[in-house]
């Protein structure tokens, strides 16, 4: 469905992404992990067509994207800035539904339904600035869910919600993914989350941002917070992703890390890493 090849991006002379190749199949949920500043948000912006990449191309459903693709929803990392303060929570969620050709009452009904799915039905009539950060983040997730896009991009969507809510929202994403057959690209810096949610985990390296490795998640599709996280396979995958991410942290210290140095750094990281510890 989505095919990214040789994608690179620079802000001025600052190279942020280089040679990104990534394929995402229809209905797949791919998680992207990487250290902060490695260009995860920039990558999502390029895919969303909000930033034209300086190199390479993004092909969606066989057509190279030029501008924002149709039928896309993005959950931005800056959730509070992405909600409109002059609209109520319900109207914020309902706003994108205008493009769905629905009447006002229908839009509002769907908005309230989506808000209920993130546990915020009581906040529908409030304004975003009357809510806590975690609640605002859930509103922006509800807005994307209500839109029912075929492709959803989520940039660290659970960064400021509490642990319990976070687990509920993770399960909500899995459930919507299965029920609606949505293709989802989810960025996170949480290794456990990347394994728990993903059909596949893509690990990014920093300076410049590039794909370090990809791991298929060989866990059954039906996942649950307690059982899956205790699964031996989950523990193994988490350690594996952890090593890959740590390797990145090590090699970012010398400015021009080569692949050989990467391998060394990884070996060191492997040696010091205690398994099954986050």
């Amino acid at each position: 469905m989505l095919e990214i090849s040789g994608l690179g991006h620079a802000y001025g002379t600052h190279r942020v992404l280089e040679g990104i190749d990534l394929k995402v199949g229809e209905g797949e949920l791919v998680t992207i992990v990487g250290p902060s500043g490695c260009g995860k948000s920039t990558l999502l912006r390029c895919i969303a067509g909000l930033v034209p990449p300086t190199e390479g191309k993004v092909v969606l459903k066989g057509a190279p994207i030029d501008g924002v693709p149709d039928d896309l929803a993005v959950v931005f990392q800056d959730y509070s800035r992405s909600l409109l303060p002059w609209l109520t929570v319900r109207d914020n969620v309902a706003l994108p539904l205008r493009r769905r050709g629905l009447g006002k009452a229908e839009r509002r009904a769907q908005a309230v339904k989506a808000l209920a799915s993130v546990g915020l039905e009581d906040a529908a009539g409030k304004y975003p600035w009357q809510l806590s950060g975690g609640m605002q983040q859930r509103v922006s997730i509800a807005r994307a869910l209500a839109y029912k896009p075929t492709l959803m991009l989520m940039d660290e969507p659970f960064g400021s919600v509490d642990a319990q809510t976070r687990e509920d929202l993770e399960d909500l994403v899995l459930q919507v993914h299965r029920a609606e057959g949505m293709t989802i690209l989810l960025v996170t810096h949480d290794i456990d989350e990347s394994v728990y949610l993903g059909d596949r985990v893509v690990v990014l390296a920093r300076n410049p941002g590039r794909v370090r490795d990809e791991l298929p998640v060989t866990l059954p599709a039906g996942r649950d917070q307690i059982g899956t996280r205790a699964d031996a396979e989950f523990v193994r995958l988490r350690a594996e992703v952890g090593r890959l991410v740590r390797g990145v942290v090590k090699d970012s210290e010398p400015p021009d890390a080569t692949d050989a140095e990467d391998a060394d750094a990884e070996a060191v990281a492997t040696a010091v890493e205690e398994p099954a510890k986050k």
Binding site: V68, D71, S82, L84, P85, L95, W129
Partner: protein, 258 residues
């Protein structure tokens, strides 16, 4: 405004009036050039029911509002255009910064040449004076619209005009309103000055000039000036109240940050 603030404000005014009264009565200054405050207030009270003075006030208010309205109609669309098209914004910047500091009173000779009636002269000068605060506020407010908010709507497939209408304009609106409020005070100052300098048939400035003819009545002049002040105060208060109601989200946010 809290009752406490209203009370304090009233107390301040009473003290100033008392001091003026005392200075005038004490004989420190000539009583005809600075009449006692009580005399001025009494005359001001009489003016409130004086038919001729009300005609003057009506003329001033009409030109004031019309000039302001014309300025809003011109400055807001222009500001939106210059603020949302970076190329035009950059190209016009030098011109705007050059024209903005020119006091509109300096343009009175030009305006009297261009327009035959004093009312037109006045309104053109108000228009000029009001254009800049509104234009500059609109322009910068549009330039400063949060890019994340704009990107959000774009990502959901909104066209550029839809983003302008649904994100940029609403988020710039409080700043545009502030520009209009500033322009309204500036306009009153400019209008009364031009009335004094250009003359005409009716207007508060014309009334002030007339009080100085044939002997001169300083008490009447000050009473007229009081009413000019009241007009400015009323307009400012009304516009602030309007902003509070219309942009509650903005006030709540600003207070939240502070």
């Amino acid at each position: 405004m809290t009752p406490r603030r209203i009370l304090l404000g009233a107390a301040g005014a009473v003290v100033v009036v008392g001091v003026l009264e005392a200075v005038s009565r004490s004989g420190l200054v000539d009583e005809t050039s600075l009449p006692p405050a009580s005399t001025v207030l009494k005359e001001a009270g009489k003016l409130a029911v004086d038919r001729e003075f009300l005609v003057d006030v009506g003329a001033t208010v009409r030109e004031w509002l019309l000039g302001l309205l014309l300025a809003v109609l011109a400055a807001v669309p222009l500001g939106v255009l210059l603020g949302s098209v970076p190329l035009l914004g950059t190209a016009s910047r030098a011109l705007v910064e050059l024209c903005r500091p020119v006091p509109s009173v300096a343009l009175i000779p030009l305006a009297t040449l261009l327009f035959s009636s004093p009312a037109q002269t006045n309104m053109s000068l108000i228009f000029y004076a009001c254009l800049w605060p509104i234009l500059v506020n609109t322009l910068y407010a549009l330039r400063d619209v949060d890019p994340v908010a704009k990107d959000t709507l774009r990502a959901f497939g909104s066209s550029t005009p839809a983003v302008l209408w649904r994100v940029s304009l609403p988020s710039a609106a409080p700043f545009i309103a502030t520009g209009v409020r500033i322009a309204a005070s500036v306009a009153l100052v400019v209008l009364i000055s031009t009335e004094l300098l250009v003359g005409g048939d009716n207007g508060i400035g014309i009334y002030l000039t007339e009080t100085q003819q044939g002997g001169g009545r300083t008490d009447l002049m000050l009473a007229g000036a009081c009413w000019a002040g009241v007009l400015g105060l009323l307009a400012n208060t009304a516009l602030i109240a309007l902003e509070r109601v219309a942009f509650r989200w903005h006030a709540a946010r600003v207070e939240g940050i502070a």
